[in-house]
């Protein structure tokens, strides 16, 4: 324990200089500004701003990157809450966050997101500081069978993230899984469902689906309603009442725990963590009946999980040198450019770097809370323009966001097509969040299922003979049985 505190003190010693704080503030500031634009999420923001750090000293550069990352992530949830235009890590914020916005509680939603991500970040920082070397090994405990079960567990939770019918939710998950099949098959190299279009070889971009199904569909539906008012009228009240504040804490803590765990798994990270946290809140929160209609819990849990997972996903990168998602791969690139190769020896050889990073991530979080959250209302006043002007600008930024993800203009075609698809879904009362879940988990499920089948030569028994997998299978079984029981009870009650 004393060891850890010593290390942390050393880390803060390295990170806390006036110059570094300036870098951090600057990173947070620019990151939020760019992340605020619809469609531009952490990945595009970091890759955009990476060159800014080339000429800086190492610690300063990493602190600035951390600032950019958190800034972008916060900015991203701002666009999800206020415009319903998410990026990969803020899909869930579109559900309750946007509902809160429609009820005129924009300020409260933004404050909740800011505070919860601070809580998530702090919890995860403690996890990272205390257990980083040991937890790195945890990724090795998860083989293909365990992953299959984890993904299936995710699918079973779909009933918790839909507000509509279960049938519709399951259908949307399946469509999401099928959409995830588009592109090159990782096991055999065969192009599936690409219709001979070369730009689909890498699959459909998650940004295209997110912008199309959420953003474009929402814009068109606003236009249909001749809803010309600007989303940001008058002043935005940021501070919550004490009663509201008390609701943030438990939900944020639950989210932090879920996020810290899911962040450790390769392929997981913030995108999956937000779903996990939402499902947990929907099951255990005192206010679970309000969720889906604009409840504080729906924003707090996912924001905390998002942040916690973003933080703990550094653990596999630092301890075994494996980046688990695109953002981590970019961070790895940035570290290597500075002459640091993350891996098992990093903690021994560059302790100042490792602990400095942990400290600077936390400092980035603090900056976000004290600097950006209050500032955000000024950012939003930029949007106090008529909707007829605003929506054209949003469309342009959606195009820009889609384009800058891969520097590929053809992705915009995909976005436009998903706009039409998303609008159809909206009109039919189908929700896009389960679709995204299927799209994210589907390819991973397929890959791991096929891997497991190849390893076990077509034998299904590892799913219930391996301990971790068996536990998850049991949870899935219990959950399905419980849902079936409730369904049957409802049916018999009705018939009486």
């Amino acid at each position: 324990m004393i060891d850890i505190l010593n290390h942390l003190a050393m880390g803060f010693g390295h990170a806390l200089s006036l110059q570094n704080l300036m870098y951090c503030a600057l990173g947070c500031f620019i990151g939020t500004l760019i992340g605020l634009l619809p469609g531009l999420g952490p990945i595009s923001t970091i890759s955009l701003l990476l060159p800014l750090t080339y000429s800086m000293p190492t610690t300063g550069a990493i602190i600035m990157l951390a600032g950019i990352y958190y800034g972008a992530q916060y900015g991203d949830s701002v666009s999800a809450i206020t415009m319903k235009i998410p990026h990969a890590s803020s899909i869930i914020a579109c559900i309750d966050g946007y509902q809160m916005h429609l009820k005129g509680k924009t300020g409260l939603a933004l404050f909740t997101a800011g505070v919860s991500s601070f809580i998530g970040g702090t919890v995860a920082a403690i996890v990272v500081a205390g257990f980083a070397p040991a937890l790195g090994e945890m990724a090795f405990l998860f083989g293909p069978a365990e992953y299959c079960m984890l993904m299936l567990l995710g699918f079973v939770c779909v009933s918790l993230i839909t507000t509509g019918s279960l049938l519709g939710g399951l259908g949307m998950v399946s469509i999401g899984v099928l959409l995830g099949m588009i592109g090159t098959d990782v096991n055999s190299g065969v192009m599936r469902y690409t219709m001979g279009l070369p730009f689909l070889a890498d699959g459909v971009g998650i940004v295209s689906i997110a912008i199309g199904c959420f953003g474009l569909a929402e814009i068109v539906s606003n236009l249909d309603k001749k809803n010309e008012q600007t989303p940001f009228t008058g002043t935005i009240k940021l501070m919550p009442t004490w009663a509201e504040f008390k609701r943030i804490i438990p939900s944020a803590l639950r989210g932090s725990i879920v996020g810290s765990f899911l962040g450790l798994l390769p392929g997981g990270g913030p995108t999956i963590a937000q779903y996990g946290a939402y499902a947990v809140d929907k099951k255990f929160s005192k206010y679970r009946d309000e969720m889906g209609t604009g409840s504080i819990e729906g924003v707090a849990g996912q924001a905390a999980a998002d942040e916690a997972a973003a933080r703990t996903s550094f653990i596999p990168l630092m301890s075994i040198g494996i980046p688990e998602n695109a953002v981590m791969a970019l961070m790895l690139g940035a570290l290597m450019m500075k002459g640091i190769t993350p891996g098992p020896q990093m903690i021994d050889r560059h302790p100042e770097m490792f602990w400095g990073l942990i400290a600077s991530m936390w400092i980035g979080n603090v900056f976000l809370l004290i600097l950006n959250v209050p500032l955000v209302r000024f950012w939003l006043s930029v949007f106090k323009i008529p909707y007829s002007v605003l929506f054209t600008c949003i469309l342009f930024f959606c195009c820009l966001g889609t384009f800058s993800t891969n520097n590929n203009i053809e992705d915009i075609y995909t976005t436009a097509v998903f706009g039409i698809i998303g609008y159809t879904f909206l009109k039919l009362g189908l929700e896009a969040a389960p679709l995204m879940l299927g799209f994210i988990l589907g390819p991973m499920l397929e890959e791991n299922f096929r891997r497991e089948m190849t390893i076990s030569r077509g034998d299904f028994s590892p799913f219930w003979t391996q301990p971790i997998s068996a536990v998850m299978l049991a949870i899935i079984g219990l959950f399905v049985a419980y849902s079936l029981y409730r369904f049957l009870r409802k049916l018999t009650n009705k018939s009486i």
Binding site: L178, L223, S388, L395, F396, C399, I412, G419, I420, M453
Partner: protein
């Protein structure tokens, strides 16, 4: 006239058939060596069942009108598609002009001066992105 559940069911069936039928173009493999076709076929079959259930469920419900307005969604998608096409063949400035000109038709009123103002503003933003942030835009 169909009701919501029937339309949802038909949509599910259609998607299931598109992906399911096309999966036969790839190798099926065996259970110990699954090919690229197996997984999508399985998921399509599941979706097909859900679709059929939804259609049956819907046929028991009353008919209702689905409020599907085509005008705005067509304008918005066409504006995005033309933005991508024009940017690809000419450059992004021409793309912005086309995007805003077309998209503005879906607002309740159309004003040329407003469109010109937005275009000028966004071109300035695009330049700022390119030269201040180093975004690789084909201006």
């Amino acid at each position: 006239m169909k009701n919501q559940n029937q339309l949802i069911g038909l949509l599910f069936v259609a998607v299931a058939l598109i992906f399911g039928v096309n999966s036969f173009r790839y190798t099926m493999g065996s259970i110990d060596q699954p090919g690229p076709a197996m997984f999508p076929l399985g998921v399509s079959a599941f979706l097909l069942i859900l679709g059929v259930i939804s259609v049956i469920k819907g046929s028991m419900d009353a008919k209702e009108v689905i409020n599907f307005k085509l005008k705005n969604i067509i304008i918005v998608s066409v504006s995005l598609l033309s933005f991508a096409l024009v940017t690809d063949y000419i450059n992004m400035i021409a793309g912005i002009v086309v995007l805003i000109t077309i998209a503005s038709f879906s607002a309740s009123s159309y004003s040329i001066t407003r469109v010109v103002k937005i275009i000028v503003g966004l071109i300035a933003v695009a330049y700022a992105f390119k030269y201040l942030l180093g975004l690789n835009l084909p201006l």
